[in-house]
Subunit: 331 residues, 2 copies
């Protein structure tokens, strides 16, 4: 945190004085959300009495900008954050903004510490991201904020997400179009939104062509190999695997080859993520869904610039379509 001899009043102080939550105080000051008018008035009076300046909303106060954006991730700079960050950087460079990176490591205390530090630094805006597509709590600060990949549970926040259901549907439709009719779905833990949402979409598209309920397990090659052993015993007539990730698909492809099953001649396989070290090293290379995370990062960055500069009113929720990358595993 920077050296701050005279701490400024924080939104938490305003919220406490007004007797509301930080999230409500934020919405009252930003004129967003659905609040009773007297609540909004009470919060604004509390802010005024404390001398609270409502954040870096940027509208009409460009000279106070720090040209700095905080990027908060739970992904420990993992493989989802990396391509996303590249897109954010592209978009923000156009606005001459620098990115301060904060890795919360899924720790609520670290997240709070970083948010305080970023407020103290008077960042112009925040991008919040993570390793999953599960919705996450709103941070509820009076700073322009965009949630990327992991949307906010609060529909009045600005979230940019990938339509992963559409991605899973694309893979399933592709297998049907290629002629597969006895299809299975092997994916990650059911409690993960990425697994449950993709499984629903696959079931919707395939109907009777899905010959067994989705198999939920782990996001690993080992689970892919185990699933093949189970399915060759119980459903030896399966002619295609829709997999929930490239790691699973790689395990499936390896095990099928080891069991003498030709991919794609006898069984077609699709993955999800287009993670090059998995998809390209697979034999054959994997047909897979690319979520377009760099594109998503660009959209997050440009949406944040719109909010900071106050020149446009971006939609609260923006959803990007993924695309299917067709390779040898499904032809």
């Amino acid at each position: 945190m920077p050296h701050t001899p005279t701490p400024m009043p924080r939104i938490a102080d305003v919220a406490e004085l007004a007797g509301v939550s930080v999230s409500t105080a934020s919405k009252a000051l930003n004129d967003t959300g659905q609040l009773r008018e007297d609540t909004r008035t009470r919060v604004k009076e509390a802010a005024s009495s404390l001398g609270f300046v409502p954040g870096r909303s940027g509208r009409g106060q460009a000279d106070t900008r720090t040209y700095t954006v905080g990027l908060l991730t739970t992904d420990s700079f993992g493989r989802f954050t990396i391509p996303l960050l590249r897109g954010v950087e592209d978009a923000l460079a156009a606005g001459r903004m620098a990115i301060i990176l904060c890795d919360t490591r899924d720790d609520v205390l670290r997240e709070r510490h970083y948010l305080q530090s970023l407020q103290d630094r008077r960042v112009d805006g925040l991008i919040i991201t993570g390793r999953t597509t599960d919705p996450r709590p709103s941070i509820g600060l009076a700073i322009p904020t965009v949630y990327a990949l992991s949307p906010s549970v609060d529909p009045t926040d600005h979230s940019v997400v990938v339509d992963e259901s559409a991605g899973a549907a694309m893979a399933a439709e592709h297998l049907q179009a290629m002629g597969s009719r006895r299809i299975v779905h092997v994916t990650g833990p059911e409690r993960h939104h990425s697994a449950s949402a993709r499984a629903l979409a696959v079931q919707d598209v395939l109907g009777q062509s899905l010959i067994t309920p989705p198999l939920f397990g782990h996001w690993s090659e080992e689970w892919g190999r185990h699933a093949v052993d189970m399915l060759l015993a119980s459903h030896p007539d399966a002619d295609a695997f829709v997999c929930g990730s490239d790691q699973i698909a790689r395990g499936v492809t390896d095990r099928l080859r080891e069991q003498g099953v030709d991919v794609p001649g006898q069984v077609r396989v699709t993955g999800f993520d287009n993670w090059d070290v998995m998809a390209m090293a697979s034999r054959p290379p994997l047909t897979t869904v690319d979520m377009g995370l760099t594109e998503l990062g660009r959209l997050a960055g440009s949406t944040l610039l719109d909010l900071v500069e106050g020149e446009a009113d971006p939609p609260r929720r923006q959803e990007l379509p993924p695309r299917l990358e067709v390779r040898g595993s499904s032809l």
Copy 2:
């Protein structure tokens, strides 16, 4: 870049006025490097006449610090930067410093642009890193700077590196200790320092136990598989593979299994990197060299704090020992 109504004189201006390179000007102002005394005096006079403030050296001017560090990487936030960044963050958090991340994408113009932007932001220090262990040019700025993983070619700069030769030697010694006597080395492109330095160390340790010169190729699974096909034809009596990376080792292990060769029963295999998605998904899991990049990041961060706070005089070059992670592929 931030809004800067009155641009400050830059070290390039000082260098131009004094008729020296930026790198020389930096050394003169920092009292480092080996320079003639009249050169040093000329640079200091030029700085004084321009009103140049010599960087964020921090000595005795803690109140002007921005508590911000620029981290410049060529690795596009890849898998080498990720663990390193985690360590840098650990060390700098202790000094209440935030990290501004800049991805140069191996582009000299991007690098120059970012360095200018970070100077304009008056960062307290810089950490320069990349995806290779090849030495890189000095940036030559009058800002405390630490080079991590990729050292500076200038021995008066501060570099923290991993002793990768020691790592390769550890793997080779381990195979000898396990009883292997007919060993081969399969690695990446000879022009990469990582490949040539490790190959030399392996040759030194193994002597006559290395039954063929190192095989240089690519950092890929496919190259590992091809190398097995070549070596099973030319040296069917090989009893161990020292591999230059985990990706190569995984390809080697897969191909040996497919050819009916038992790992580790007939042939032992070691990798390099301890990259979990490769090392743990391999069958059996890989014995491999862990470069300790998070530890290296911590050392880079604490060295930079020492330089910024001016309370210690860290060595110009610090080398960390890697460690061998022993798993099923070599037992």
